[in-house]
């Protein structure tokens, strides 16, 4: 019952530790990757030309890639649309998850709540198309390793469990927030109730663990790509 929290037991602490480690690892290891990229020399300028000649121009070029997936649009329309749906769906869902950073729901997030269902739908349908493509298109199937399928499945199941929590087996989000904030600040709280919630948090933990050591780092990696971030001189 809210306001009368029970004492955390061993399993709660273990779960909290695991989550906290995953968060610190995700942040720390990603920063490490970025440092390694940044410190690796770029001996010769290799922008793909025509390229902008000013830093502002390069920033614009990168922004087009990061926000509109410009090169992907040139390459393949289906993949581009599916990818946009997935990534923006994910972004909106992640923004919604910011509610767990504080104990009271920030007013700024209210508009996002309206569209959270659509965001989740976009995310999952994008993933479905990408997975179907990976299985059905010969060229793409050829170049895929097990992890390429698993990444998509992992994200999809995380999203689906999230949808289940939203629609079928709602849980007390306050307790969820307490657990997550507690874990990250090392003040262990009881795990929230509900199997689906625990699975969802478990999958999210797995995502955090693999993010820095997998292709998922492309999110930040693209910023270091010399063909895109170097200017023509």
């Amino acid at each position: 019952m809210r306001g009368c929290p029970s004492q955390p037991v061993v399993s709660d602490v273990l779960a909290g530790v695991l989550f906290a480690l995953a968060v610190y690892w995700a942040v720390g290891a990603t920063v490490y990757r970025m440092v390694v990229w940044a410190r690796t020399a770029s001996p010769l300028p290799i922008p793909i030309t025509p390229a902008p000649r000013t830093r502002l121009g390069v920033a614009g070029r990168l922004a087009l890639e990061v926000f509109a997936f410009r090169s992907l649009a040139r390459a393949n329309a289906t993949t581009w649309i599916a990818s946009l749906l997935f990534h923006y769906g994910l972004l909106l869902v992640m923004i919604m998850h910011l509610r767990f950073a504080v104990s009271e729901l920030p007013l700024a997030l209210l508009p996002f709540i309206r569209f959270s269902g659509w965001a989740l739908l976009a995310m999952i349908s994008g993933l479905v198309v990408l997975l179907l493509r990976r299985v059905l298109v010969d060229r793409v199937r050829y170049l895929s390793s097990p992890s390429d399928y698993l990444h998509l499945v992992l994200l999809m199941v995380t999203g689906l469990t999230g949808a289940l929590i939203k629609r079928v087996w709602p849980t007390d989000l306050f307790d969820v927030g307490m657990f997550l904030r507690g874990a990250v600040t090392l003040r262990w709280q009881p795990m929230p109730e509900g199997l689906v919630v625990l699975i969802h948090i478990g999958l999210a933990t797995l995502l955090l663990l693999i993010f820095p050591i997998s292709k998922l780092v492309h999110g930040v990696g693209i910023l270091f790509s010399p063909t895109l971030n170097q200017r023509e001189r």
Partner: protein
């Protein structure tokens, strides 16, 4: 399954370049170590190996894949030949769960694949244009070739050419007296043809401008007609210029093999010659990768070249120069002199995607076209997903222009041939214009295999020279 049977470099050629003569005993460990060293010293390589998400956007963009239908010619698959080894030895996931992430041990079969497929990439960067992360397969290919050469498996064609440049001064092994002879003969030809005494100076110490051109321009067809065009333009503009017998080669094959130190040595010849001849301007002839090196790498490798005049502080392309002269009214072109020709322009990969031209973004695409439009009455464009930044490589670049790769070269030219055929059918195109020595040789050789022998491969400056009002 397509095969690259390009001959492995002979022992004395390798040794000349301070490389092992044959495959070394401990090739596995040496190769893995060298891979690590390259990843540590080239940010592009590291980022490209790390950030690929296997999205497949690149897969149907490579002319060799389109021509051979060999899945390992898909850019991502080509990169994976190296990436799988990088993951195995240098990443957490690859060390602990190789089967999960497609990490592989470097065994003999994979080494063979490296040699096979890194010599089925012309390093044209078309794939990069379509990659959401800007992954440049050519950087992976260059690294792969560098590693192969370092364990004794260089390519005879490229390595031999590099030794010829070092020993004699150009890719063809043409020595100074032979070069002087060729130039004299060309002067006679031009005089006979036009009645004007256009000179082709060699090692003139009073010259203001050094022109460095691919050695094929001195004698090959259709290149030499371009050379004649340069000479006519320079004559008409009353520029004091010269060739150099010591820098008689614009091409820089060490670019193809990823051997940066050799690339620097070859580039240094140009700088040394420019300083020795006391010139204040440097101009590069019609050559694709030479232009990429001159535009993008000369300063980092052997610059800054402070001896160049402030109005032109870096190497210029001959097209840039001619364009400048045309805009300034110092030369006049009369397109009617080329009446009857229907031309289309082939953008060479290194020019389109690896360099700029003039001071405008995209000048490398517009300047040659403006010259062409001024020289020929009818110019047709091929489909725009095959030109400009998306141009299809001729199929013979990046160290592939050797007879033992002819089969792959013919197949690689398929997309370009298809685009050309379309305009031959709709507009009766008679000439294909290019500003790259390799493109000119390659396309002349392979277009007949695609039933396009009626289209003449032509140097841009051939048409300019013919349109030029020469006095």
């Amino acid at each position: 399954m397509s095969s690259s049977h390009t001959a492995v470099a002979e022992p004395d050629v390798q040794r000349h370049l301070d490389l092992p003569g044959t495959l070394v005993e401990d090739w596995h460990d040496k190769a893995v170590k060298r891979l690590g060293e390259l990843v540590d010293s080239r940010r592009g390589l590291r980022v490209f190996l790390d950030t690929c998400t296997k999205c497949g956007a690149c897969t149907d963009k490579c002319h060799y894949f389109l021509g051979t239908a060999d899945p390992k010619n898909m850019p991502v698959a080509r990169q994976d030949l190296l990436r799988s080894v990088y993951r195995r030895y240098y990443t957490l996931a690859g060390r602990w769960f190789p089967w999960l992430v497609g990490a592989r041990n470097l065994d003999k079969a994979l080494l063979q694949d490296w040699y096979n497929y890194f010599y089925q990439c012309s390093e044209c960067r078309r794939c990069t244009v379509f990659c959401p992360k800007g992954i440049d397969t050519s950087e992976v290919t260059m690294a792969g070739r560098e590693i192969l050469a370092s364990i004794g498996l260089g390519q005879q064609y490229s390595q031999e050419i590099i030794t010829k440049v070092n020993r004699i001064g150009n890719n063809l092994g043409m020595k100074a007296p032979a070069l002087a002879n060729v130039l004299e003969n060309l002067e006679e030809d031009i005089l006979e043809d036009t009645g004007v005494a256009v000179k082709l100076p060699l090692d003139d110490p009073d010259a203001d401008m050094l022109v460095v051109t691919p050695s094929a321009d001195f004698f090959a067809e259709p290149h030499v007609d371009g050379l004649i065009g340069y000479a006519k333009v320079l004559h008409q503009a009353s520029i004091r210029w010269t060739f150099s017998s010591e820098a008689s080669e614009a091409a820089n094959f060490a670019l193809f093999t990823g051997q940066h130190d050799h690339m620097r040595d070859i580039a240094l010849r140009i700088r040394t010659a420019a300083v020795k001849l006391n010139v204040s301007r440097l101009v590069i002839g019609e050559c694709g990768h030479a232009w990429r090196v001159a535009y993008s790498f000369l300063d980092p490798l052997v610059g800054p070249m402070k001896f160049l005049e402030s109005a032109h502080p870096r190497a210029q392309h001959i097209c840039e120069l001619t364009h400048e002269l045309l805009e300034a009214g110092l030369i006049t072109l009369d397109a009617s002199r080329n009446a009857g020709k229907v031309v289309t322009y082939h953008d060479s990969c290194n020019v389109a995607r690896g360099a700029g031209m003039g001071n405008k973004e995209g000048g490398q695409l517009t300047i040659p076209r403006e010259l062409l439009a001024a020289s020929v009455p009818v110019v047709v464009e091929m489909s725009n997903d095959t030109t400009g930044q998306r141009t299809f490589c001729c199929g013979g670049g990046g160290g592939m222009l050797t007879d033992d790769l002819l089969d792959v070269r013919i197949k690689g030219a398929l997309p370009r041939a298809q685009a050309l055929r379309a305009v031959v059918q709709t507009d009766q195109v008679t000439h294909l214009v290019a500003i790259c020595a390799i493109c000119k040789t390659q396309l002349s050789a392979v277009l007949p295999h695609h039933d396009l022998s009626d289209v003449q491969v032509t140097s841009l400056h051939h048409l300019v020279g013919d349109a030029l009002v020469l006095t």
